[in-house]
């Protein structure tokens, strides 16, 4: 054992790895939003004669939000614009005490979908509703996809 490092420095080496296991979990728990998966394909293909095209909707996914402080909210945006005449809207069920922004037409700019959440905590399995609408002027739109990005933010 002669010449081996002392036990204290060894502990110092180990400390970061212990923190590595613990800190990310605490940081994730501090402020995060997690979705259950992707919604089903939204396909428009029907209408009543004389009326606009029937919209398509999906309610199969949920989200869990964890906040570290009161007043944090959720915003959402698209990664790219929708085709002309096609609109993608979203509505998130709000955690207890918070207000949903209702049906929000998504764009490439962050928009509030859930208002200030009144207290820190974790709120799980809250519903996400998507709605796709198309004007007749949109014509036929071949299968396409957009990413919807949710972010937990502080302040107004």
């Amino acid at each position: 054992m002669t010449g081996r490092p002392a036990s204290l420095p060894r502990a110092l080496v180990a400390l970061p790895f212990v923190l590595l296991m613990a800190v990310p979990c605490s940081r994730l728990a501090a402020q995060s939003v997690i979705v259950s998966g992707d919604p089903g394909s939204l396909d428009i293909g029907t209408a009543s004669a004389g009326a606009p095209l029937d919209p398509a909707s999906d309610v199969t996914t949920t989200y869990t939000v964890t906040t570290s402080a009161a007043g944090q909210r959720i915003v959402a945006r698209l990664d790219a614009p929708m085709p002309a005449g096609v609109t993608l809207s979203i509505e998130l069920t709000a955690p207890t005490g918070a207000a949903s922004a209702g049906e929000v037409t998504l764009s490439t700019v962050d928009q509030t979908v859930v208002g200030a959440i009144p207290s820190a905590g974790s709120y799980s399995s809250l519903a996400i509703t998507y709605r796709l609408s198309a004007a007749t002027s949109a014509g036929r739109v071949l299968t396409d996809a957009r990413s919807v990005v949710f972010t937990v933010v502080s302040g107004t």
Partner: protein, 187 residues
């Protein structure tokens, strides 16, 4: 294990105690650097969903109901009666580059009796000089669908008048209670 221990001891025998401390400090610094990097990338304040979508070709036409019974005099040249009590609604997302059209055909009851003609006239659904166009009075046939409205694109229109005209010429014989089914198709 034994092999590792021998190698470790051998390394220590050739290492100065001051260098031991230096190596240890480097290890500690490296560990904290790894920790810092890991915590930075592990924070997830965002989530992403992929939304897949499409819009199919939509072409829908519907009528408001059946017209009233129409009666003309047999054998009377120029005898004509009309009915404008019904309407049609239409929706399509067809483009002007590939417009839709509505056709009409007698699909039940066969051809009209000799000397008797049934015509239909569908009003222009957009009421404009451009875009959709009515074909005017079209004599209906049981053997072929005929265009009654053409150039339909990007339209949702309701309450467009359908005018039926029943005519009989001098060759027409008396017919009691005949019925024909007229089918409108958008394509």
């Amino acid at each position: 294990m034994g092999g590792d221990g021998i190698a470790y001891d051998a390394l220590q025998h050739f290492t100065h105690p001051q260098e031991d401390k230096l190596i240890m400090l480097r290890r500690i610094a490296l560990s904290f650097a790894l920790l810092l990097g890991a915590t930075t990338t592990a924070v997830a304040q965002t989530a992403t969903q992929t939304v897949t979508f499409s819009v199919a070709d939509v072409k829908i036409v519907a009528v408001s109901g059946d017209p009233a019974s129409m009666t003309v005099n047999a054998g009377g040249s120029g005898s004509t009666v009309a009915d404008s009590s019904t309407t049609y609604d239409v929706t399509t997302n067809a483009t002007s580059a590939a417009p839709a059209k509505i056709t009409a055909q007698i699909t039940t009851g066969g051809d009209m009796p000799t000397g008797v003609t049934l015509s239909t006239n569908l009003a222009d659904p957009d009421g404009a000089s451009v875009g959709a166009a009515s074909a005017g009075d079209v004599v209906l046939s049981s053997t072929a669908a005929q265009d009654v409205v053409t150039s339909l694109s990007n339209i949702e229109a309701t309450g467009n008048t359908i005018t039926y005209t029943l005519s009989a010429d001098a060759t027409a014989a008396a017919v009691a209670g005949a019925t024909r089914v007229v089918t409108y198709t958008i394509q």
